[in-house]
Symmetry: C2
Subunit: 422 residues, 2 copies
């Protein structure tokens, strides 16, 4: 007689086209911030068909908005709900949250894409489109894993709590809302694009905005003004040095293979409104990585110090101090012991499917894992099929085979973690 493991493997193998199709229809919906509803509707309908217990709600309200970890500049969440869908266990087993975000980042320069960013084109085993890797592919892997259990009539003891959340790309308000609604578990897997690596530690991160003052003048007498762009360049050079200093301190071997463990990314620079005027304001926006071994607060203090030190060497900036704002996204760092049972079970399943040991590293980016673990007291591992390198990039894509492998590994982990009912 077939084991449950064999039946799951076979089902996933036989349903690859079905899984690819699911991902394709998810990618074809644009779910950038504020536009999550149509993609979420597909997920909801899928969960309804699977017979899961649904909890669909629009996030917001005072408890969420006054929470210290709430970090969000979005005005309205109306019409773009969060979803939690539960595969109820018979009792007695450990519970597992399977969390994925449904929001995607903007497409960037459309001309750099070889296919329409929302085409979901499949080519040589890869599916292309914004969100294919980050992280609709991960979500599809979760749904396949759950369906493989249901389709084979396998009942688990522990609950499987599937979460399809909004706002991950902007600071995690969706997952925070789910935590505050009472969802926690004995373990959680978030299939962010890790290239099938396992990330027990996750870098935190947060967004910053630096406002640089200059003094306007006619471009023909530009020496009478102070260029906010030139001052912004000075700020950027100092941030580059700060990034070097902060990364030189990182010694955790989980970061060994990562060129810049906690980057400071300058994502936006806007200055000036007229070619022949000296620009009087520059606005720098970016993202600062936070080590799993430091707090958000200590990293913020370090940047504040760096910026105030620039003024010590620059008369203009001393008299016209830089203004630093922490806005928009903020992701708490997260950390799980290397020998936590969740790590062990996931590693075992990985070896069972891949016949090889997984690569265990620290994540190069923030995830909702920090909120789940820090606020929700749920042990979290990040493990997913997407390609880190293509996330947020033009021509984002996923290798479909990896999506099926991740689905298999997660399904096998559920068997062990939640235990099969008698």
């Amino acid at each position: 007689m077939d084991t449950n493991e064999m039946r799951i493997k076979r089902w996933i193998k036989e349903n690859r086209a079905r899984g690819a199709r699911l991902l394709q229809i998810l990618v074809r919906e644009n779910s950038t911030r504020g536009n999550e509803s149509s993609t979420q509707a597909i997920i909801i309908e899928k969960c309804r068909q699977l017979g899961l217990t649904l909890d669909i709600w629009e996030i917001g309200g005072d408890e969420l908005k006054s929470h210290p970890a709430y970090c969000c500049d979005r005005q309205s969440f109306g019409g773009n709900p969060n979803l939690v869908a539960i595969l109820k266990g018979t009792g007695g087993g450990k519970s597992m949250i399977l969390n994925g975000h449904i929001d995607v980042v903007p497409v960037g320069d459309e001309l750099s894409w070889k296919h329409d960013p929302f085409s979901g084109t499949i080519e040589c085993g890869k599916l292309y489109g914004r969100g294919a890797t980050d992280m609709k592919g991960g979500n599809a892997a979760l749904l396949m894993a759950i369906e493989s259990l249901i389709a084979n009539g396998i009942q688990l003891k522990g609950d499987v709590i599937f979460q399809s959340v909004i706002e991950e790309e902007s600071g995690g308000a969706g997952t925070l809302a789910a935590v505050l609604r009472g969802y926690h578990a004995d373990g959680a897997i978030i299939p962010e694009p890790t290239n099938l690596k396992i990330f027990p530690k996750q870098q935190g991160s947060m967004w910053f905005r630096i406002i640089v003052k200059g003094k306007a003048a006619h471009g023909g007498t530009r020496y009478k003004g102070v260029s906010a762009i030139e001052k912004a360049l000075l700020v950027i050079q100092n941030l580059q040095q700060l990034e070097k200093d902060r990364n030189a301190r990182i010694t955790d071997p989980l970061f060994d293979k990562i060129p810049i463990p906690i980057p400071i990314n300058i994502g936006k620079l806007t200055s000036g409104e007229w070619p022949s005027s000296v620009p009087d304001t520059a606005i720098i926006e970016g993202r600062m990585g936070v080590s799993p071994d430091e707090t958000i607060q200590s990293a913020q203090l370090e940047m504040e110090k760096c910026l105030s030190e620039i003024g010590e060497h620059d008369v203009w900036l001393r008299e016209n101090p830089l203004k630093l704002e922490w806005f928009g996204g903020r992701w708490l760092p997260g950390s799980l012991e290397n020998d936590h049972p969740l790590m062990n079970e996931l590693t075992k399943s990985f070896i069972e499917v891949k016949s090889d040991r997984p690569i265990i590293e620290a994540s190069p980016w923030g995830t909702d894992g920090g909120i789940l673990s820090t606020i929700g007291n749920t042990p979290v591992v990040i493990f997913g099929p997407g390609i880190t390198e293509t996330a947020h990039d033009a021509n984002e894509h996923i290798v479909l085979e990896d999506m099926f492998i991740a689905s298999e590994i997660i399904a096998l982990t559920l068997l062990k973690w939640c235990e099969v009912a008698d």
Copy 2:
């Protein structure tokens, strides 16, 4: 009996409040690009009251748009006319164009202004507001000079051709249209803000746009991308060096007191659309000064060479070449001999009014003078009451006393240049 000179001086002295009020109502109208009509209407009404012969027309048409000196990205000129208003001479004298532009640059950061930028507030003899100096104050000085002749019943032999043009700040399409409509003269004064200095030579200038390509990536793995901002910084550093090299070659003593005779101003930099993405495009916009001793074309070639050389030292830029566009504004350089009769007459009038020799320099910026002289074959001097330093800046203002002085000097010059009819 009073001389004409004495009557003019007395009239201007007695009508200072009237002149200040004229400037105030001009400044209170926002005449940024595309919004020139209401200010132009005030000028037109004033010229009508003075009994000048009016020519009011919307510029455009094939002759203008196909002219090699036409350089304009504006879609429509409808509703914002050019004006030429002529004080007809009795014949036999030399004619004079008095040219001023009615358009002003945007206000920039409104918070940096101590008064509303369109208030026209008068404080301690200074009138504040966008355009007060550049160059509604100059225009008001011209109108006062003309009115002082008419009010005193002084008839000239030569024509005085007053021009209130649009588009100077964006490349001179207004003055070019007036030239193509047939207006030229034996001399021209443009009262741009020279601090009452006389500029026989004018720097040319033109706008450029440089498009810098990067490679997008997630900010957490920013080392997988190529930051367009970092590459833009490299471009800016090279442009700074180019500016140094070009200015080191300037030997004309008229530039002796100007720290950077022909600046390269970086007026705008925009890059990126998401704080935690590596920006894949940066757009630099600026203004390049052109020496009176070189051509627009040779300056353009020099910048093209500079940009292509960056690629020789940067693999990414070699494979992803910078794109250079010359767009929007372009002002031809202009040059008049130091001993031209127009210089002599203006200098004499200056000494008559100020009891001191004028400062003669080269202009630190482009004007419509290049078009008037190069295309319109009209000898041009730039001389006006505004404060160079406050042009295009917050808190732009003019010293009203200087406006009356300029008006007097110009009126006296008209007496000599156009000659008083018998």
